[in-house]
């Protein structure tokens, strides 16, 4: 169909999935401020051609350095869930004190600076005690502190301004701070940047930083986790006070002047910078980098407005408007980000399956439906939750995975006694025994694990090579699904999808894209690398006894293929069954040299059609509730037996769908077939007429056991 061709190319050329993947990144919070910065640069750059000259930039870094210091403190306070409005007054008092102590009193400038810093910290401490320990409201407390400190400053100014301005601080370092630049950048900005880097490190890597974020995220949860909430809150105000004082010292060095308007309205400017950067006023969300971005934006705007000749009132008006806008964006973004992500992450693409074969109850057709599996004898009904894979050891003990991360064992010979063989966590999926009887297991969300005979759990692999152009981090394994072991010990395992977590695995079907891959773990050097990627939910893997290739099933692709990992055809993929009428799952050896494959569900023509219409699926995901989405029909499944040429030798079904509506795994053992199902609460046991009563899986793989 012509429209199908168009749709196919449209979805091949435009990678829709990028939107959702970018939105799922935490750095996307920076996107809006970054965009804003670009707009500000473009607008003011066009209005003021002189803005980007070296001199102008260097001037701006002086203001930016002071702002950034104050903003860092405020960021820390806001991230812990508070607010500090007193920074402007502290800044003014610090300026005055520095000039007074260094000049009139005559202290060496370094000592004076330390005293001023301590004073800032002390004011912060008062704030912190009131808010952190006495639980006063942060907004009111710091507002009152703003007025008090401002009043003190004004009083001192009135009495001593003449004395102070008459004496200057004399020191080469002080002069350097005041007038020199390093590669065009003011020292204050360098100091601020260094502190920003330090703050970033503390907040993201060290315990006190995590405590601050935890307290901001949820005071109660932080308290319950054993964090001293009161002390943490108090500490943030001390930091904020000291940093505001530091900014005041740089201001003193730069201008050496006193004025009633020093630091006036600074709290609004800094608040604008912090919120515009993307640090959330609600606490718990934010970063130092965001604040740096916000400060740069605010400095560019204020600077440009002054140069454009706007009166200072107008400048405040603009800043206030920006603050309001930033707060509005912050609130809406926080509220809707998760929703937006949930809706936009699923990115369907065009996928056409080969024509659906007619499947009926007519006995002469290859996939003739029957009810043989409805008679399967149940094992462990209600004692297992989602045995995706089952396996038997040489002694006949039955092992299965479960949804809650255990490997369950039913003891031979009657499989009536159940025990937890090992607890791993994650969702235990594919199972295989290696040469010395250790159980290798694929764990959804965790990777490839090994359980030794002594029941020790060892991680083998949870990382593979990261591809260069992938936005989601595809080096971690999200959904290791099934595995098999080559005669030389290499483990080949499938990762069904790199875009969805274990609990969302069926949603991958709605995308119709090859999101999965096959990974090889080499026990000789412990390395893992991707051998085959871009596959549609690669699931079951089964070695072909030639020692050069294995079979793998692609569930959503409804096909079984053969991959050569060695030998002359190395690297080649050959189709074995390209057009199954259902969705294949695990593949395993049969005693007669053929292969069993579990069928987890059947193709529904309405779903096949939807796979050719990605827009319809996108609308579906956007518009209706998740439980209502159209999925592959997973309520009828069965087992097929096929040979290497792709011929279907036999098929077994539960046509009624009561006991084994979907079969994800099958193992033959001493004449019986054991069945597992990912949504089932039982394991089934079916007697295969005429099968070799001595044949076991471990025997076929590793020879007779000693």
């Amino acid at each position: 169909m012509a429209s199908d061709l168009f749709t196919r190319w449209r979805y091949k050329l435009v990678p829709d999935k990028i939107v959702g993947e970018i939105l799922s990144k935490s750095w996307v919070d920076n996107a809006i401020p970054f965009l804003f910065l670009m707009i500000a640069l473009a607008v003011f750059g066009a209005l003021l051609p002189s803005m980007f000259t070296a001199g102008s930039m260097s001037g701006m870094t002086r203001t930016a350095g002071e702002y950034l210091l104050v903003a860092l403190g405020l960021t820390i306070v806001i991230m812990a869930g508070g607010i500090d409005l007193s920074v402007g007054s502290v800044f003014a008092l610090a300026n005055l004190s520095m000039l007074a102590l260094g000049g009139v009193v005559g202290l060496p400038w370094g000592v004076a600076a330390l005293v001023v810093l301590a004073m800032g910290g002390l004011i912060g401490l008062v704030n912190g005690v009131l808010i952190g320990y006495l639980r006063l409201r942060a907004f009111l407390t710091t507002l009152v502190m703003l007025i008090i400190v401002r009043a003190v400053t004004d009083t001192l100014l009135l009495s001593y301004s003449k004395d102070i301005t008459s004496v200057q601080i004399m020191s080469p370092v002080w002069e350097f701070l005041a007038f020199k630049t390093v590669f065009g950048v003011a020292p204050s900005f360098l100091v601020a940047l260094a502190l920003a880097a330090l703050a970033h490190f503390v907040l993201t890597r060290l315990r006190p930083g995590w405590h601050i974020l935890a307290v901001g995220g949820s005071r109660r949860a932080a308290h319950n986790a054993g964090i001293d909430v009161r002390r943490t809150v108090c500490l943030t105000y001390v930091i904020s006070g000291a940093l505001a004082a530091a900014a005041g010292i740089f201001y003193a060095a730069r201008l050496a002047s006193l004025g009633n308007d020093t630091g006036l309205g600074l709290e609004i400017t800094i608040l604008t910078a912090v919120v515009l950067g993307g640090t959330s006023l609600g606490g718990g969300r934010g970063s130092v980098f965001k604040t740096v971005l916000g400060v740069i934006i605010v400095v560019i705007i204020t600077n440009s407005l002054i140069r454009l000749g706007l009166r200072s009132g107008a400048s405040s008006l603009v800043l206030g408007t920006i603050l309001l806008m930033a707060v509005a964006i912050d609130v809406r973004w926080l509220k809707n980000r998760a929703k937006l992500l949930a809706r936009s992450y699923v990115a369907p693409t065009y996928f056409a399956l080969p024509p659906l074969q007619k499947v009926s109850r007519a006995p002469d057709t290859p996939y003739a439906i029957n009810d043989l599996l409805s008679d399967a004898e149940p094992i462990g009904v209600g004692q297992v939750d989602g045995p995706e894979d089952v396996i038997l050891d040489a002694e006949g003990n039955l092992y299965c995975g479960s949804r809650d991360g255990d490997i369950i064992r039913f003891l031979a010979p009657d499989h009536k006694v159940r025990e937890v063989y090992a607890h791993i966590g994650g969702s235990t999926l594919g199972l295989a025994f290696d040469r010395d009887g250790s159980l290798l297991v694929c764990v959804g969300g965790m990777g490839l694990y090994k359980v030794t005979r002594a029941r020790e759990v060892i991680k083998l692999s949870d990382e593979t090579t990261r591809s260069w152009l992938s936005i989601v981090d595809d080096s971690r394994m999200r959904l290791a699904d099934d595995l098999d072991i080559a005669p030389d010990g290499r483990v080949f395992f499938s990762e069904a999808t790199i875009r969805y977590e274990m609990h969302d695995w069926i949603i991958d079907a709605l995308e119709g894209r090859g999101n999965g891959r096959i990974i090889c773990y080499d026990p000789r050097d412990g390395s893992s690398r991707t051998v085959l990627s871009g596959r549609q939910f690669p699931n079951g893997i089964c070695m072909v006894p030639d020692g050069q290739s294995f079979l793998f099933a692609e569930t959503w692709g409804c096909r079984i293929s053969r991959f050569y990992y060695d030998g002359p055809k190395r690297g080649r993929v050959e189709a074995v069954i390209p057009d199954l009428p259902g969705y294949p799952d695990n593949i395993n050896l049969a005693s007669d040299g053929n292969f069993w494959c579990g069928i987890i569900g059947m193709r529904a023509p309405a779903f096949d059609l939807a796979q050719k219409m990605p827009k319809f699926r996108k609308h579906m995901v956007m518009q209706i509730a998740r439980d209502e989405w159209l999925y592959p029909n997973m309520n009828t499944g069965g087992v097929i037996k096929f040979d290497l040429s792709g011929k279907i030798v036999q098929s077994l079904w539960d046509g009624v769908g009561e006991r084994h509506p979907q079969v994800t795994s099958i193992r033959e053992h001493k004449g019986y077939l054991y069945l597992g199902g990912i949504f089932n609460n039982r394991i089934g046991r079916y007697k295969i007429p005429g099968a070799d009563p001595e044949w076991t899986g471990p025997g076929a793989y590793w020879g007779a056991k000693p």
Binding site: R603, A606, M613, H619, M622, W629
Partner: protein, 347 residues
């Protein structure tokens, strides 16, 4: 301009007029299992159209009209018709039989066959004073093709009245699959399935039902309303997606459509919704479903006051007719292939 833009946004996000939402089953329609637990009187393929004629309970099954003995549950062939029966009604001593080929047999002491004014007879109702009210579901599709009519957005049905003299008179048209009617007070109440509502002389009585309603029959102090299939978000979405709907009707067999159904899913080629995966051997009663069993009791003003359900995991879906006999209510579950009897029906 702004209207066009908001319309586009609504369409993209599925809001406003494009919201694929379904009214919840709540209030009088709160789910229970009373229909699922009802006594099974008889098991027979696709029973429909319960009536009492000359003191005998009759219903149709395919082309046969069966007589049902209430006490024993025994069924006897009462009459065979040339094609499938689509509606029955009793008018005094006459039994009106509507057939899927559009002919109308007026059976009494002697038969009289007339051509109905429309081929798709969905319901017949005694209009009193010798009139017979006839619902013609669609001008485009026969009654068996009701899924197609729904997916085509069908609104070509009509309501006719046939007088004693055999002259047909159109009462109204442009109806979305009229599938039941009742004469009450000043006029005829019509059930429009595809619009999920009951109207009287064009004015809505009940709107936004959570399913597709069909026939009305008298109950003490009110009415029985059968609802033969549930509304479903996915189907509502498909009804809004023209491209997909048209290709589905063209490329997929009707049994495998995303469309309401009379019987619980049996075929593995049928579409399945996420919430309907059989987990631990069980399908949830509240799973999304394309078939459902629902009988609603209405008061004299046609407002729902009670309901009887067979839910997503149930057997007796596709309820198409109900008949009050003494203190019992007989119900046909066309999709469940059973005639049921509800005994405790005091609202």
């Amino acid at each position: 301009m702004i209207g066009w833009v908001t319309d586009r946004i609504d369409r993209f996000r599925g809001r406003g007029a494009y919201a694929a939402t379904v009214p919840p089953m709540d209030g009088a329609l709160r789910p229970n299992t009373r229909l699922e637990d009802a006594d099974v009187v008889a098991r027979i393929a696709a029973p429909d159209n319960l009536v009492v004629y000359r003191g005998q309970v009759l219903f149709s099954s395919g082309a046969t009209i069966m007589a049902l003995d209430l006490a024993s549950g025994a069924m006897t062939d009462w009459r065979r018709c040339p094609t499938e029966v689509s509606a029955l009604a009793v008018q005094g001593e006459t039994l009106a039989i509507g057939l899927t080929d559009g002919s109308l047999i007026l059976a009494g002491d002697s038969d009289r066959t007339v051509k109905a004014p429309g081929g798709c007879i969905t319901a017949l109702v005694d209009g009193g004073d010798g009139r017979l009210i006839l619902c013609v579901g669609s001008a485009r599709n026969p009654s068996g093709e009701w899924k197609r009519d729904l997916l085509q957005g069908g609104a070509t049905g009509a309501l006719w009245s046939i007088g004693l003299n055999g002259v047909a008179q159109k009462l109204s048209d442009g109806l979305a699959w009229p599938s039941g009617a009742a004469v009450a007070g000043s006029g005829v109440v019509v059930v429009e399935a595809w619009r999920h509502r009951l109207t009287q002389s064009g004015a809505p009585l009940v709107t936004d039902l959570p399913g597709y309603p069909s026939r009305l029959s008298p109950a003490p102090g009110g009415w029985w309303l059968t609802v033969f299939a549930p509304r479903n978000q996915l189907i509502e979405l498909v009804l809004r997606e023209r491209d997909y709907r048209e290709r589905m009707m063209h490329e997929v067999a009707p049994d495998h459509w995303i469309a309401p159904s009379l019987s619980p899913a049996v075929d593995f080629n049928e579409p399945m919704q996420g919430g309907a995966i059989r987990t631990h051997g069980i399908i949830k009663p509240w799973a999304p479903t394309r078939s459902y069993g629902l009988l609603v009791r209405l008061d004299a003003r046609f407002q729902p006051i009670a309901s009887y359900h067979s839910r997503a995991d149930g057997r007796f879906h596709g309820v198409t007719s109900a008949l009050q006999v003494g203190d019992k209510v007989l119900v046909t579950s066309r999709g469940g292939n059973a005639v049921l009897a509800l005994t405790e029906v005091q609202p």
